[in-house]
């Protein structure tokens, strides 16, 4: 295989595909990027078997073919070449990367060892790429990173007559996002780790989405992202949502986030922030043994009978408030130990449910 392309285009295609390459893979060939030509295109594939990214760019193809090249080295080498055209010449065991002087010689990996990647893109549904990326960002914050509980590291893709629903939970909080009117078929548990890569790898104005038997496939003009589904059954979350909330307070989102940023100065790790919610608004308190504390008052529009005192992990609270893209947020409460819900009072397409901290 011998191709020539402009450095920045090549670096972009390689860099995005390389995001799927795991840093610690035990299988040597998975450290590589599969580069193969097709017509006047170069397709670049990186995979850790769970996440697969395929990118493609138009190049000048002098000799068609395929090669697996160490991904980190290839990507960094191309980025550091002088601007201008770059030639990649892969024949036998050696890959030569050259352009305007510098020349890298890299040892190629065994092409036949590279896992075969399905080319099935299913019957996808076109989705507004920005809306999809924003919705994913709103739910992945609630997904767990704990590999011991694989189901909770997923985002549930659930389809109904109303549209597509994305749900995630790490057992401490739960995020639900509806994309009304999107007629996707099928459902599945999609790894949140892979969804976090969507915008950076193939993000575009329009993203075609398909849920297949074993994977979900996102494709756009910039490439294809395939995520292997996690097996199992997502917890039945509907019953966790309280039926009614005796108290609610409407707050200015920026004021809450500013207050929490001050709270973080004191509350590292797992120090809870205490909220006293009453007709006067919200009194915020944090205190930490050996350090000190911070208090402040937030004005708010309160509806309810009794004042409620509740404590939260401030990071989890900030995640939820930050996920709501409007000026005003609503905090609904039952009491100090039942789940609270944060949402936009004007919009029922997103909610963030959060368990309190018992102090």
């Amino acid at each position: 295989m011998r191709i020539r392309a402009e450095r920045d285009d090549l670096a972009d295609a390689l860099g995005r595909a390389f995001r799927a390459v795991g840093s610690r893979s035990a299988i040597p060939v998975l450290q590589g990027l599969l580069c193969e030509t097709n017509g006047n295109k170069l397709h670049v594939t990186g995979t850790d078997l769970e996440i697969t990214v395929q990118t493609s760019i138009e190049v000048e193809v002098m000799d068609g073919g395929r090669a697996v090249i160490p991904g980190r080295l290839l990507t960094d080498a191309v980025r550091r070449m002088p601007a201008g055209n770059i030639t990649i010449d892969a024949g036998g065991n050696e890959v030569i990367i050259s352009g305007r002087g510098p020349e890298f010689r890299l040892r190629a990996l065994e092409t036949s060892d590279f896992p075969s990647i399905s080319s099935d893109e299913g019957d996808g549904v076109a989705v507004d790429g920005v809306q999809l990326a924003d919705s994913i960002a709103q739910v992945v914050i609630a997904a767990s990173n704990d590999a011991a509980r694989p189901i909770l590291t997923a985002v549930l893709f659930e389809t109904s007559d109303e549209g597509l629903r994305l749900v995630s939970t790490d057992a401490y909080r739960l995020a639900v996002r509806d994309l009304f009117g999107i007629g996707l078929e099928g459902s599945g548990l999609v790894p949140a780790r892979g969804l976090r890569e969507l915008a950076r790898t193939i993000g575009a104005a329009q993203v075609t989405t398909a849920v297949l038997d074993r994977e979900v496939v996102f494709s756009s003009e910039r490439g294809i992202l395939r995520l292997r589904l996690i097996e199992g059954k997502f917890p039945s979350y509907a019953s966790l949502l309280p039926d009614s909330f005796p108290a609610q307070v409407i707050l200015d989102r920026e004021e809450v986030l500013d207050a929490l940023n001050r709270v973080f100065l004191v509350a590292e790790d797992h120090i809870p922030v205490r909220l006293e919610v009453s007709e006067n608004g919200v009194d915020v308190t944090v205190s930490r043994q050996d350090v000190g504390g911070e208090t402040e008052h937030l004005d708010g529009d309160y509806t309810g009978e009794e004042p409620i005192t509740v404590a939260f992990n401030p990071r989890y609270l900030a995640d939820g408030v930050g996920a709501i893209p409007t000026d005003k947020i609503r905090l609904r409460l039952v009491d100090g130990v039942k789940p609270a819900v944060i949402d936009d009072p004007e919009d029922d397409s997103y909610l963030y449910l959060l368990m309190p901290v018992r102090v």
């Binding site: 767990s144 509980r149 057992a171 401490y172 059954k233 917890p235 797992h270 050996d290 368990m355 102090v359």
Partner: protein
């Protein structure tokens, strides 16, 4: 850092040996050592024959054929240590216990209650002698470094006060071996250069020291000799982790033994965490393998960070057991040491509650390791009861069934570390 001389270093004299003499008065005034394989403690009478800690007991017998040798009773040492530490705590909450038999105290906040620091030191010596029956030496100075040197000068059974401003006068005539960190090798190098006192060390050009000691050590020792101790006096630096380890002699392979060791360490760590009202989110283990015929041991470490901090014995035990099993893998050589530590500590009053999933698939058996789960709540209730009973009736009053009949292996960490040197 130099300031008012309010730092005390209290160091129990020949601690294990003193406890033995307390328990068996016929041993008083005799040359005696604790430890049948390696000397863990020696009475001052035994030290006159050149017997020192960490020396093989065989050597001790050669130096002093009539020396009495007793095995250790580690449970008793721990009890007496706790008695002493409780006495010390009456004088200040700013106390940093650095081993089973020594602690630093900052009495700056206590002088209006108990008098000046040297008077507090006298009261401590009287109280420890009177209530615990043990001799303790105390050094009083403006830094931890100097207080520790002073208590060594005071030994046995003495008090040494280094007044503010008198630090260099105190240090100068002392032999260099009194400086923390100067062992026989460094001392030998310094002697070759004609340096045998701290004063001579202080007067030596750092450039000259560097040629023999290396730059880092030269700078460090030169600074200490001039009483420039760059370490701030933080008597209550919150611990970054709580850990414990157990040496296992020739090693264990039986999973039941592994179970017991992990549980025993988890119980010890859990108890210490709960006493401090702390919990931690990272559990780490270290397993040492040393097969017969192998030149050196191999250490295998594993760790796992949980979503939320835990402090229950059950939670630590479950995570640690998984990690230890993972570290052992399919290996057949015996494990000669198991160590467990909990880090990323937080105040544990607060518990992040969980959503109560009904689904068996998600709510697996692992939930005791998750603070906020119902099983964690139950484990926490058991721990509270156990801790309360032990506080009232003593450590041995109640225990976990999985450790029945195994308590005698319960040796303090310091003993384990000493034993590992052998």
């Amino acid at each position: 850092m130099s300031g008012a001389a309010t730092i005390l270093h209290a160091d129990l004299d020949a601690f294990y040996a003193s406890v033995e003499q307390l328990l068996d008065p016929s041993l008083q005034g005799k040359a005696m050592v604790v430890g049948e394989g390696v000397v863990l403690a020696a009475t001052y009478e035994a030290r006159e024959f050149g017997i020192r800690s960490a020396m093989p007991t065989r050597t001790a017998r050669r130096l002093c054929p009539h020396v009495l040798v007793v095995p250790g009773q580690f449970g008793r040492y721990t009890e007496h240590s706790e008695t002493v530490m409780e006495i010390l705590q009456r004088f200040t909450p700013d106390i940093e216990q650095i081993s089973i038999d020594e602690a630093f105290l900052d009495v700056a906040g206590s002088v209006h209650l108990f008098g000046p620091p040297d008077e507090i030191a006298r009261q401590i010596r009287v109280a420890v002698r009177g209530e615990a029956g043990l001799p303790v030496s105390v050094g009083v100075a403006s830094t931890k470094f100097l207080a520790k040197v002073a208590s060594q000068v005071a030994k046995p059974d003495g008090l040494e006060v280094v007044p503010e401003g008198g630090e260099l006068d105190f240090l100068s005539p002392l032999p260099i071996r009194m400086i923390w960190g100067v062992g026989p090798v460094t001392a030998g190098k310094l002697h070759d250069m004609g340096v045998s006192t701290v004063g001579e060390l202080a007067a030596t050009e750092p450039g000259v020291l560097k040629t023999r000691l290396g730059r880092a050590q030269a700078n460090h020792l030169h600074a200490l000799a001039n009483n420039l101790d760059p370490r701030p006096v933080t008597t209550r630096a919150p611990a970054k982790s709580v850990g414990s380890q157990q040496a296992l002699g020739r090693g264990i392979t039986d999973p039941e033994d592994v179970t017991a060791v992990v549980l025993s360490l988890s119980e010890r760590i859990g108890g210490r965490l709960r006493r401090k009202d702390r919990s931690g989110s990272t559990v780490s283990v270290r397993v040492r393998f040393w097969a017969p015929g192998q030149d050196s041991p191999e250490n295998v470490s594993r760790s796992r960070t949980l979503d939320a901090p835990v402090g229950t014995t059950d939670a630590i035990n479950r995570v640690a057991r998984e990690l230890v099993d993972d570290a052992i893998g399919g290996r057949e050589e015996p494990a000669t040491l198991i160590g467990i530590a909990v880090s990323h500590l937080a105040d544990s009053a607060a518990v992040q509650m969980e959503l109560g999933f009904d689904d068996a698939e998600v709510d697996d058996a692992g939930d005791v390791a998750r603070a906020g789960s119902s099983r964690s709540d139950a484990a926490s209730a058991v721990d509270r009861q156990l801790d309360a009973i032990r506080d009232r009736f003593g450590k041995k009053a109640i225990g976990r069934a999985g450790l029945m009949g195994r308590e005698d292996r319960d040796a303090p960490d310091e003993f384990r570390e000493l034993a590992e040197r052998d």
